[in-house]
Subunit: 150 residues, 2 copies
């Protein structure tokens, strides 16, 4: 289970150094083999260990391909999915197209989200997070959440 925020600087080549504390787990789980794709709701990227991605892609493939919503998901998610490998220093080269999609330049945020990571442009993340903090208050919570005691 991945969690936690990390501020990471991309270098001029567009490489992102994965924080050391995640590397062991990534090496064990998927031998450093990851898949990066886009998030369809927000301008951020999703980073999956290959084994987790395979499960997701299987689900997407199983959707009825005549359904337009399903087709759209297939094109967006599978279409943008890129295979990445960590280099010897635990870095990932983020493909230029995906960098553009998420508006990444230098300062980026890596967000642990359980089975996957999210990658955000730092300023985009800050504004989005502040928006979330505002919105969470006073909104109708789904029933499952009402019983959540933190």
């Amino acid at each position: 289970m991945f969690r936690g925020v990390n501020q990471i600087n991309l270098d001029v080549k567009g490489r992102m150094a994965i924080p050391a504390r995640y590397r062991d787990q990534i090496s064990v789980q998927c031998a450093g083999h990851l898949v990066l794709t886009i998030d369809t709701e927000e301008r951020c990227l999703l980073l999956y260990p290959i084994d987790e991605w395979d499960i997701i892609q299987a689900k997407i493939d199983a959707l009825p391909s005549l359904n337009p919503v399903a087709r759209r998901l297939q094109r967006l998610l599978v279409g943008h999915a890129s295979d990445l490998d960590m280099d010897s220093h635990g870095r990932l080269l983020i493909p230029a197209l995906l960098r553009d999609y998420a508006g990444l330049d230098k300062k980026t945020i890596l967000l642990g989200q359980g089975r996957k990571f999210e990658i955000w442009d730092e300023s985009n993340w800050n504004t989005t997070r502040d928006r979330y903090l505002q919105e969470v208050e006073g909104e109708a919570l789904p029933e499952a959440l009402l019983n959540l005691s933190l």
Copy 2:
């Protein structure tokens, strides 16, 4: 069960010394392995023993991830959750991003809250506490609270 207020000074490296009376329980319960995340209502931090946190994260993970409110909670809570270990002197290094979120500089408050702790900037805590004292007067209590005998 943790309880009580403690005024604690962070040192220049951002470390917080856990009061000695809590250390034994923390060591026994979770071998000094804790998780720190943000509170979404107030600008303070929540500190959980790892076993308590695992329960919470499992609940959050189980929420439907297409529900926007659930997504937001996942991003805020899991996204900010950082693993911390007590050092040999019972201190925790508070990550810089979380320190910023809660506005911690030197004088901080550690608040025992049952299964977890809360960490506040001291002046923020004082104003918030005073506000609470004001608000409690004359407010309508939910039924569950009316039957509470203190």
